[in-house]
Subunit: 233 residues, 2 copies
């Protein structure tokens, strides 16, 4: 029998960030992925109304565009542990070991290291939801920029081709952001229609090295705070 999973997606308008809650329908144990400081009150309300026990607040990477909500959530849910990749060189309560699955009640999450946007980016995979949470590695019909925080177009190309595009075609993909109001995508669609990732590696690197994007407004403050999983109340 298919396991009961609680799943919810939320959006933060200013930074176009998606936050996710995944919980075990039986034990009510749960995680939150990529919360934003400004929307912690909303997220906490839904965690309480959904009668969930929040075990982990996971950031897919050290965000540069917003301050994570994990610090503020720890204040509201004192037993919640902040979580980062073991490659993050940052402060967290718990580090992802990419060899092991994370057990949340009856459901299991596995993790792939998907560097390229930053060195410590990771993708979270849920077989129960037939979904992956790609952070800023793969965005819908796009991908994360590779020009700061240890970014590398070559690494990102390999991360996506080896660890995301190898998932089953029907798996849903949920990114950390979308700027066009698109809620999710699938492995099949991105393999067919992602304008950057359908290129060969050389063209992909050329595209990524010539995006000429502005420096993120909040980057200096955000990274400093996010290196310790948010504001330490």
């Amino acid at each position: 029998m298919k396991k009961a999973v609680v799943f919810r997606q939320f959006f933060e308008k200013e930074t176009s960030t998606y936050t996710y809650i995944i919980g075990c329908g039986k034990t009510r144990n749960s995680i939150i992925i990529d919360p934003v400081l400004e929307t912690v009150e909303r997220d906490a309300k839904y965690i309480n109304e959904l009668d969930l026990n929040l075990l982990y607040g996971i950031n897919t990477h050290i965000h540069a565009d917003h301050i994570t909500g994990t610090g503020a959530l720890k204040k509201k849910f004192p037993s919640m542990k902040s979580v980062l990749s073991s490659f993050s060189k940052a402060k967290a309560d718990f580090y992802i070991n990419f060899e092991k699955k994370l057990q949340i009640g009856e459901i299991k999450l596995s993790f792939k290291s998907t560097p390229g946007h930053t060195e410590s980016c990771m993708t979270i995979i849920s077989e129960d939801l037939e979904s992956a949470f790609t952070g800023d590695a793969l965005l819908i019909r796009s991908c994360g920029r590779t020009d700061f925080q240890g970014g590398s177009p070559e690494k990102l190309y390999h991360s996506i081709h080896e660890n995301i595009f190898t998932l089953p075609n029907h798996y849903k993909l949920y990114p950390a952001h979308d700027y066009n109001g698109v809620i999710n995508t699938t492995v099949e669609e991105e393999k067919k229609y992602n304008p950057r990732l359908t290129q060969n590696k050389e063209n992909f690197i050329e595209i990524m090295n010539n995006l000429n994007l502005p420096y993120p407004k909040k980057i200096d403050k955000a990274i400093l705070i996010n290196m310790k999983c948010g504001i330490d109340f």
Copy 2:
């Protein structure tokens, strides 16, 4: 065996409107619900990339806050029919008969008249998706205003209690708008936590009659155009 259904949700930032695509996974026949003029290019791109044959563009009601995209979509998909409630007194290619289901390939949609926000509001129900698309009748932890276009708090109260809260508790509810970045809800949650709808009828009417909301900016132009299902190209 469960039928294959294609389902996608989209967001339009300026008016916080949700648009939905529902298609039959086998025949690729599909509908779009509540498209917005400004995001027609995006929606058309996804309809094409998902390899869907667009049969109907359905507006859950005559929107007052934005111009519907159904007119522009007819230009791109000439066989698409614009659809409104038979109670709308407006121009459309096809009117919903609340006694009949609408067959989209192998999937079926049923409709409930849910007046109160406007006279001709309707809720679209998909058993295959175990979901309902509530337009502006039920919003997440809220409901549509009842102070213009034939609105009535009493009618809205009955519409929601008799036609939405009577759906199975686990059914997902997808509204036409959300202003807080919440993507969807469930029947059970709204029955338990909707601050307006958990009140008795008298209190609900009192709340709705005292919202003192500003007159929508685009209402005069939007209603005029939406009474004929969008701009007639």
